[in-house]
């Protein structure tokens, strides 16, 4: 039987799914054990139970000076920046992208501009953003917006252009105005794409957020990681990295399910 036609059965696919995770954990445990037997005060690969204990301490014990649990404060301020930035990007890209896709005038006016914008490396703009918007929340959110909006806009515009002309003509023969075509024909067909765009862009958004927090901040997941780096606190860094991964995974999963339930017509068909 050809390899492309061989499908693992259920238990095997669960096993395969778990395999890389288990492999990583085992490899780490072995590596850390080897280093710790050689030198008990080694900080590079802390033992798994050290990480676990650190994680428990981080999520439950308040900081002595500020009386708050820093872990949760970092989480909330990072999530706030991330979601705020992504929401703004999604809104801008939806409006501008639909306008570019539907209106020839907007296409002439904006599409090359957006294409050029998307070539600007966002991280190179970071110093400018700090100078213009200060070191507060605004510059971090703006970095996320600047970083992911051009790509999302181009994709939405392309998706609108991909709607068969037949549908747009059909709507016109039913008497639809430009507004009705935009809101009742294009928008519903573009929304699923917007969600998948957001899913794709979240990775970049995290990147920009952590970069901005690392450079200038006093709270946030990225800030904390770069702060404790000075003390070589690998257990804290690893806890935060795992936590960011979990957050990213949950966001992605939520968006996937929103898409599934909100757009049932996407799933049907052959």
């Amino acid at each position: 039987m050809r390899l492309i036609n061989r499908v693992p059965d259920r238990p095997l696919s669960v096993f395969l799914l778990a395999l890389p995770f288990v492999a990583i954990c085992v490899a780490y445990a072995i590596g850390s054990d080897i280093r710790l037997t050689a030198n008990p005060s080694d900080k590079l690969l802390p033992a798994p139970e050290t990480i676990w204990n650190t994680a428990m301490r981080l999520i439950s014990e308040p900081d002595r000076r500020s009386e708050t649990i820093l872990f949760w404060r970092d989480t909330w301020s990072s999530l706030y920046r991330l979601l705020f930035g992504v929401a703004i990007s999604a809104t801008i890209s939806l409006i501008v992208g639909m306008a570019i896709g539907l209106l020839p005038f907007m296409r002439s006016f904006m599409s090359t501009f957006v294409a050029v914008l998307s070539m600007v490396p966002p991280l190179a703009l970071l110093p400018i953003l700090f100078i213009v918007f200060g070191l507060g929340e605004v510059s971090k959110i703006v970095l996320i917006v600047v970083g992911i909006t051009p790509f999302m806009t181009r994709d939405i515009a392309q998706r609108v252009l991909d709607i068969p002309t037949e549908q747009l003509v059909k709507a016109q023969t039913l008497g639809a105005s430009t507004w009705v075509i935009a809101s009742r024909v294009a928008l519903p067909q573009v929304l699923p794409r917007l969600i998948s765009n957001v899913r794709l862009s979240l990775g970049s958004a995290w990147l920009f957020l952590i970069a901005a927090e690392a450079v200038a901040s006093n709270v946030g997941l990225g800030y904390r990681i770069f702060l404790v780096r000075r003390y070589l606190a690998m257990d804290v860094i690893l806890t935060y990295v795992i936590w960011i991964t979990i957050l990213a995974f949950i966001l992605d999963w939520l968006l996937k399910n929103v898409s599934k339930y909100a757009f049932p017509w996407m799933e049907e068909g052959l």
Partner: protein, 256 residues
């Protein structure tokens, strides 16, 4: 004064003529079949009738009015595919025909009840009541085309344009669709243009059969001249047996 007047219409893409000097007069309520070899410009002619694109020369008028500049409510259309909205259920697709012409695209509450009744009526007519709440992607090709025709009719156009509407259907379904279309036509008295590759179908349904072909032919550069209406058969009186057309235009055979 005829109902649809096509006067000296030319169309070319990038300097290459596709149609040239097309002239024809259509009476209200006539069923016009359009046949011709593949790529000779039948769909292009239909798009111009629809005002989806404008002729590079000449004019198409309805009842002597100004030539239309964009598609509008007086001309309905059914394409070979992509004619229905994939994100709306069958019922919503029919209701769109009523809702889309309002300023915001939604029917006001008061109008909803009567619109629901009309759409239920159409659903029964096109035999899709049992799938009213499904999305088009889950329907067969014949059902989708019935929906597309029903949707076009809900908007009560004066001219209906059909571009190979039954091209993808099996012979049985095709016959059903013929009956359905003829019933609707008898009821509404619409003027219908239908492009078809099936000569039998063209002569069975049409009052007139227009044949598009190139009257001039340059063997060194086949793209030099455009096509035009070379024959205008009267199909009501039995017309000329279509076997003769096949002899005159062997290209049609290839198109079938």
């Amino acid at each position: 004064m005829s109902f649809v007047t096509v006067r000296d219409v030319w169309q070319s893409y990038g300097g290459r003529p596709i149609l040239e000097r097309v002239n024809v007069d259509i009476e209200e309520g006539e069923f016009i079949s359009i046949v011709g070899a593949s790529g000779c410009g039948k769909s292009t002619f239909l798009r111009m009738l629809l005002a989806q694109e404008l002729p590079s020369r000449g004019a198409i008028q309805i009842e002597g009015g100004d030539p239309a500049k964009e598609p509008g409510i007086e001309r309905g259309v059914v394409f070979q595919k992509y004619s229905v909205f994939p994100h709306l259920t069958v019922r919503q697709n029919l209701l769109a025909a009523e809702g889309f012409c309002t300023p915001l695209g939604f029917l006001p509450r008061k109008a909803r009840k009567s619109a629901n009744m009309r759409s239920q009526n159409t659903l029964d007519r096109i035999g899709l009541s049992h799938v009213a709440d499904q999305y088009p992607a889950s329907l067969s090709g014949g059902m989708q085309q019935r929906l597309a025709i029903g949707q076009a009719l809900m908007a009560t156009p004066r001219v209906l344009l059909l571009d190979e509407p039954f091209g993808a259907l099996d012979p049985g379904t095709r016959l059903q669709m013929h009956d359905f279309l003829m019933e609707l036509r008898a009821e509404t008295g619409m003027t219908i243009f239908m492009v078809s590759h099936d000569l039998e179908e063209a002569f069975k349904l049409g009052d007139r059969v227009l044949v598009f072909d190139k009257p001039r032919w340059d063997p060194h550069d086949p793209g030099l001249y455009g096509a035009t209406i070379t024959y205008d058969f009267d199909a009501r009186t039995g017309g000329i047996p279509y076997q003769n057309i096949l002899n005159d235009y062997p290209g049609l055979m290839a198109a079938e």
